[in-house]
């Protein structure tokens, strides 16, 4: 069993009339258990050059269904207008603009439950990591 920690801190001193400070720490464990996730595909980068068509980043058919996989994504672009559209089984999740990151669970509940990315411009690079619960 491995121990992997994910923590988040969201802060602002001027968004609200009082300071905002949210924080949470999660140990990444298997579905419904306290056993730590033991698999990862490692930290990777994908550069999508010309054509910038939709690309399957994670294939739902390659993972055990209905598990507690976790996904990290970051748009490494420094051009504010450039984004990756993230979709799950064809449904738009959102646009990951330059410098933004996302972290979310992925059930991979069936073979169609792919995570796809669609860059808004050529030559954009996405950093990603998948923690698996197979």
């Amino acid at each position: 069993m491995a121990t992997t920690i994910a923590s988040i801190n969201i802060t602002s001193t001027d968004l609200l009339s009082d300071s905002l400070s949210l924080s949470a720490i999660a140990t990444l464990t298997g579905a419904g258990s306290s056993t730590g996730l033991t698999g990862t595909e490692g930290l990777g980068r994908k550069k999508l050059a010309s054509g910038h068509a939709q690309y399957v980043l994670f294939d739902g058919g390659n993972r055990t269904a209905d598990k507690a996989h976790k996904i990290y994504l970051k748009n490494l672009s420094s051009t504010a207008a450039e984004y990756f559209l993230i979709t799950v089984n064809g449904e738009d999740m959102g646009r990951l603009y330059a410098g933004d990151w996302a972290f979310f669970p992925w059930s991979a509940h069936d073979q169609d439950n792919d995570i796809k990315i669609d860059p808004s411009a050529d030559d954009m690079t996405l950093e990603y990591m998948l923690f698996t619960d197979d």
Partner: protein
């Protein structure tokens, strides 16, 4: 008005070498360097139904604007999970203690974020969920 979100991923033993990733994002409006200026604040609901409930209702004005969603399952029971969906498409399950932070495009008014306490039964007790939305559209309303 800078709001920042920092993620840290760390493990000394999930791979042959340690994993240590720390990333900070400044939350800005779509395609610009202007900071997001609105938030629902941190909200809390107690779920006691396996039926999908609208946590954040998509707003047509928010279509493809920048919005960031933070959701955490505050249950201390590792077996109790909340299923998160967008327009009925399952994203994943947040087990006790798990959190997520995602961009949300509100592509259409059907793209609401819904949650279901799928593992809930009368004997498990409520599943507490906290969430916050950071956004730029001016007409956003939540009906959680």
């Amino acid at each position: 008005m800078a709001t920042t979100a920092t993620l840290t991923l760390a493990s000394s033993d999930i791979a042959g070498d340690p994993v240590s990733v720390t990333k900070t994002a400044t939350l800005t409006k779509a395609g610009s360097l202007i900071d997001l200026d609105q938030s629902t604040g941190l909200s809390r609901v107690h779920l006691r139904s396996a039926t999908n409930k609208v946590l954040l209702a998509a707003n047509a004005e928010g279509n493809n604007l920048a919005a960031k969603v933070y959701i955490i399952n505050k249950s201390t029971d590792a077996s109790l999970y909340v299923t998160v969906t967008i327009n009925a498409q399952t994203i994943g399950k947040l087990y006790g203690g798990d959190f997520m932070f995602i961009p949300w495009s509100q592509t259409d008014t059907a793209a609401s974020i819904e949650v279901a306490a799928t593992s809930w039964t009368a004997s498990t007790g409520d599943i507490p969920v906290e969430y916050a939305l950071f956004h730029e559209d001016t007409d956003f309303l939540t009906n959680a």
